[in-house]
Amino acid sequence: MGLLNKLDDPYEGGGIVLGKVEELLNWGRSKSDWYLHFGLACCAIEFMAMNASHFDFMRFGTIPRTSPRQADFIMITGTVTFKMADRIKILYEQMAEPKYVISVGSCSNSGGPYWEHGYHVLKGIDQIIPVDVYIPGCPPRPEAFEEGMILLQKKISRQAIFNKRKRLGTE
């Protein structure tokens, strides 16, 4: 029937997309990951402005979920204090597997303006949970949130699921 004779221009009227199962899965996972809805400090207000209609964070397919059970990634928006660090550790553990972390703002990246005398401030969230994307700024502009989100989507779409050797390479 000559299905494959349109191989060089796959989308021209053909409607058949060839690709690996990984790409299909990653495309689905990266374009619709839901985040755990909670804000710590000033970055949370920028995050609210980000969620509102002007910057519209939902066009990345993200929906705010209030329980870690249904969240794919967690956004640490604000200063992490020691009292809060134990809770974030619990929240991170309670999230369902393939989970990612975006650390927003210089406070959660490295302690930010409170690194020198902040006796109660954790100097960087990566001391307790593995972080995938860091967003600099204090507070970062909403455009920086979008760049962080795109970086996370790129990272998810590059992950290999079945091929063990490739997974170790790109992880």
Binding site: I45, A52, S53, H54, P64, K83, R87, H117, H120, P139
Partner: protein, 383 residues
């Protein structure tokens, strides 16, 4: 025949055990990281124990190591929704100690910028209060309008949220040419949206049923708890520092102090506190318009800023009317360029201490509304 005793068991007499639930640090409607340990009997809240400190960033310890101008960015990060208003009492305190004469133009610019930030703060307060009651559209309306205000403040100071704009005796950036026109059309937009939200949310029957008569705070309890701002004025007490203790040039403007009159529900309930915020936005627009007319356009805003700030040995307590209430700074200086002790009295910290008193006996969902009507921000509660 023995008289048949009518057994009428009132449900509340059947004692049922009480459950303790954590409305914990990660919760969509605690406006930040606040933990309320709630004791619940079925659906009725019997006791609330707030636990704070999840955002304690050791602000007062930093003040002992930073010089006076370096502290201003940390003060922004206390109440990060109205950063401009935060800086004002601190800067006024230093100017009073150094008795620096602030030029006219700077005074007017400070009033305009602080009132713009008050509108932005009330917009977030009413928006999140609507979210707590389940109305999502006012959130989108108000955040769209808040962007217009943010752009003006960004053109002035360079930052969207934490401005670091006030200096001792002046302000950081001068006015850009189209400042007046943009302020006027932002005020027009704010008034239009307020009118829309007035009948969309405030006089909406469901909203009234949910908020009227909930979380009643009587004036004398409010004063004893040290409440201030819309929480105190919602209970019918017309205490506003801009009128009772006019600082800067507030005595030149005529504006009135909205007070909870109880058109709907009881004076001192969630609805009236929210209504006071709606009226205050209108009053702030009036102040901005008067300030824009009287503002002298010439003069350099950074003229009176002293090069080296070294406070004489002494103490001062200065306070100003923040959108959330009365923000006060107690500065103890020992003659060097670093304060020996700086205590910040945040309005949210004090207003929050009323929650256990006014949320007993209500349904669990009303507790979330009461917390939303108090309008706290955790940076100021935990400092």
């Amino acid at each position: 025949m023995s008289e048949k005793k009518k057994i009428d068991i009132e449900y509340s007499q059947l004692d049922s055990e009480r459950m303790r639930i954590n409305v914990g640090p990660q919760h969509p409607s605690t406006h930040g990281v606040l933990r309320l340990e709630v004791e619940v009997d079925g659906e009725i809240v019997t006791d609330v124990v707030p636990h704070l400190g999840y955002l304690h960033r050791s602000f007062e310890k930093h003040c002992e190591y930073m010089t006076y101008p370096q502290i201003i960015p940390y003060i922004d990060r206390m109440d990060y929704i109205s950063a401009m208003n935060n800086e004002w009492p601190y800067v006024m305190a230093l100017e009073k100690m150094l008795d620096v004469k602030v030029p006219e133009k700077v005074e007017y610019l400070r009033v305009i910028v602080a009132e713009l930030n008050r509108i932005a703060n009330h917009q977030i307060a009413v928006a999140t209060f609507g979210l707590d009651a389940g109305a999502f559209t006012p959130f989108l309306f108000y955040f769209r309008d808040r962007e217009y205000i943010i752009w003006i403040l960004e053109k002035l100071s360079g930052a969207r949220l934490l401005y670091n704009y006030f200096r001792v005796g002046g302000v950081a950036g001068d006015v850009y040419p189209t400042f007046k026109e943009e302020c006027h059309d932002v005020i027009a937009k704010v008034r239009k949206t307020n009118a829309e939200v007035m009948n969309l949310l405030i006089h909406n029957n469901i909203f009234i049923k949910r908020t009227a008569g909930v979380g009643i705070l009587t004036p004398d309890v409010a004063i004893n708890y040290g409440c201030s701002g819309p929480v105190l004025r919602g209970s019918g007490m017309a205490h506003d520092l801009r009128r009772d203790e006019p600082y800067s040039i507030y005595d030149r403007f005529d504006f009135d102090i909205p007070v909870g009159k109880g058109e709907v529900g009881v004076v001192g309930d969630c609805w009236n506190r929210n209504m006071v915020r709606m009226h205050e936005m209108e009053q702030s627009c009036r102040i901005i318009e008067q300030a824009l007319e009287q503002m002298p356009m010439e003069g350099d805003v950074t003229a009176a800023i002293p090069k080296r700030i070294k406070l004489p040995k002494g103490e001062i307590y200065s306070r100003a009317e923040n959108p959330k209430g009365e923000l006060g700074f107690y500065i103890v200086s020992n003659g060097t360029d670093k304060p020996e002790r700086l205590k910040a009295r945040g309005p949210s910290f004090v207003n929050l201490s009323v929650i256990p008193e006014i949320s007993k006996g209500y349904m669990f969902a009303d507790l979330i509304l009461i917390l939303g009507s108090i309008d706290i921000v955790l940076g100021e509660v935990d400092r």
